[in-house]
Amino acid sequence: MNFMEKIGEYFRLALRNLKSRHLRSWLTIFGIIIGVFLIIALISLSEGMKKSLMMQLRMLGGDLIFVMPGGELGDMMMAFLGGMELSDADIRTIERVRGVETVVVFPYAAEVARHEGTAKVTFLVGIAWDKAASILKEDMGYQTTEGGFPRSGKREILIGSLVPKEIFPGIGVGDNLVIKGRKFTVSGVLMSVGSKQDDSMIILDLDDFRAVTGKREGVQMAVVKPNPDFDVKTVVKNIETALEETRKRRMKEDAPAFSVITGETWSGLVENIMGIVQIVILAFASIALIVGGIGIMNTMYTSVRERTREIGIMKAVGAKNSAVLTIFLIESGIIGIVGGLGGTLLGIILAKSVEVYGQAHPMFYITASVDPGLIIFGLVFSLFVGCLSGFFPARRAANLKPVDALRRFE
C-alpha cells in the first residue's frame, strides 16, 4: 500500500468518524461556512466596487490634469462642497503655464429647474462648448445615447442618463427645461458614466451657467489638457509653481492651498482607500472565520476525549502516532474544506444576487468581482484553518500512550 492509498484509507476512517457524529460535524461546518461566506461575499463586492470606480476614473482621462482649490484631502472635500474656489486670475495663470494646451473650467451649482409644471433642484454644470467639447468627447469618453452635443450660443443643454428616468420622467431630445426663467432645449442625453451624481447633471454652456446662477467668477475645478509634447508630470509641476508664485505675490498667502492632480493620482487615491476598506472588511470577516476555527478545535478536542479508547485500540493494533495524527487532521480538514465550499458557494450567490439587483436598479451601481483566485483563496484558507485548528487536538490524540488510552472509560 503506497502513501496515497494509505491516506485514502485514513480518509475513509475520518469520514466514518465525522458521519457518526453528523449533527456536531454539520454545526461545526456551519461555523466555517459563515466565516468563509462573509469573506467571499464582502471581498467580491468590494473588489467589484473598486473595479467600477476605477472604470469611472478612466473616463476622466489619463492625461488630463485637474486643478482644485484646497491642499489636503479634507480641503478637497470642502472644495467639492463649495467652500473654496479658483479665481479667474488663477485660471489665467494656469493658461500661461508652459505645456498647457487647453484649460476648461467646470463650475457647478444647484438650481431649481422646471419641466412641464414640475420643479426640482438640479445639479448644473457649466462648460464652454467651443473649448471643452473635444475634451469631453475624446479625453473623458462622454457619449450621447440620444441626440448630440449642443451648439454654442443656442441655449441647448445636455442631460445625464438619470435625468429622464428619475428627475424629469420622460424628458427627451427637443424638450424644454426652464431654469431661472430662461428656456433651454435638450440637445442630447448622455450615456451613463456610472456615478449617480454625474448621471444626474444638466450641462449648460458656460455663459448660460453664469447668467443663470449669477456667479461671475470662481470655479470649483479646472481641467487642463497638456500639450502632448510635454511630460504630464512636468506640466503638473509647472502649474503648481506658477499658482504658488502668483498667489504669494498677489494675495500674500503664506501657504497657498490648491491641488494639482492627474487621473493617475485619482486612481492611486481610490486604490488606497479601497485597499483600506478591504483590509477592514477582511479583518472583520476573519474574526468570523477564527470563531469557526475555534469551533473546530472545540469539536476535535471533545472528539479526542470521547474517542480516547478508540485511539488506544487503534494504537494497540499497530497505528503509528503519525497515522492517528493524520486521521484527526483529515477530519478537521474535511470540516474546513466542506465549510469553505459551502461558504464560497453562498458568498458567490449573495454577491451575484446583489449584482443582479444592481443591474435591475440603476441607482445602485455595484458589480461583484468573483475571480478564481478568490475562490481558491477561500478554499485553501478554510482548509488551512481546519488543519490548524485540528492540529493541537490531533497531536494530543497521537501522543496518547496506548495503555493510558485503553484504561479510560469515557
Binding site: 500500500m1 479508547r309 494497540a316 493494533v317 499497530g318
Partner: protein, 237 residues
Amino acid sequence: MIKAIIKLENVWKIYQLDKVELLALRGIDLEIAPGGFVSIMGPSGSGKSTLLNMIGCLDVPTKGRVFLKGKDIARLSEDELAFLRGKTIGFVFQEFNILPNLTALENVTLPMIFQGASLTEREKRARELLISVGLKDRISHQPAELSAGERQRVAIARAFGNDPELVIADEPTGNLDSATGKKIMEILANFHKKQGKTIMVVTHDPNIANYSEKIINIQDGQIVADHQKTKQTLWPK
C-alpha cells in the same frame, strides 16, 4: 533454543499515587516461547493486567527491560514499536473494544491497514477470519447489531488479522455468560491447536485456565508459581 517472542528481564512497574508508591510489578522475569497457551492468574490488584500491558508492549517498565522479538523496546521509537507490535501481537480485551462506527469486516481489517496490506488482501483475509469464528452472516453488520459474544468474536478475528505470533487476551470472557465464554475459549484454543499460535490469557477463572498448557500465578506483583498444567492444578471442567 527457540527465540522467545517476548522476554521480560527484572521488570518493575511503580505507580506514583500522590505520595504513595504502588509497586505493581516487582522484578518479573518471564519468557514467552512460541507455540504455547499460557494463562496468567491472580486475584484483582495482583498486577496481572500491568504484566499483560508489559508483555503486550503497551506500556514501558519503570525498571528492567522488555524484549519484543529480541529487540529492547526502550530502544525503539514509538512508531517502530507500534508497527512491530501490530505485526507480532494481537489483542483481545474484556470490553471487546471494537470500533462502534465500523462494520465487523472493517474492524477486522483495521490492524491490516496499519501494516499496509492492500484492500483486496485485507478483505479476503478478514472474511476468512470472520467465517472461522462463525460470523459468516454478520460480516457487514455494525457492532450495535451484534450480541456481546459476537462482538468478542469480531475482536478475536481482528486480533488474528495480521497473522501475529502471539495473541494476548485480557479476561476475554469477563463480560460474557459462561456458555458464550466457553465458545470464545474454544475459538482461541482452536487457533492455538490448528495454527500453532501462541495464546496468552489473563483470567481469574479456573475454567478458563483449564484451556492452557501452562499457568503463571501472580501475587503482589511477583510470579509465585509458574508451572505446566498437571493433575493437581487442573480444575474440574
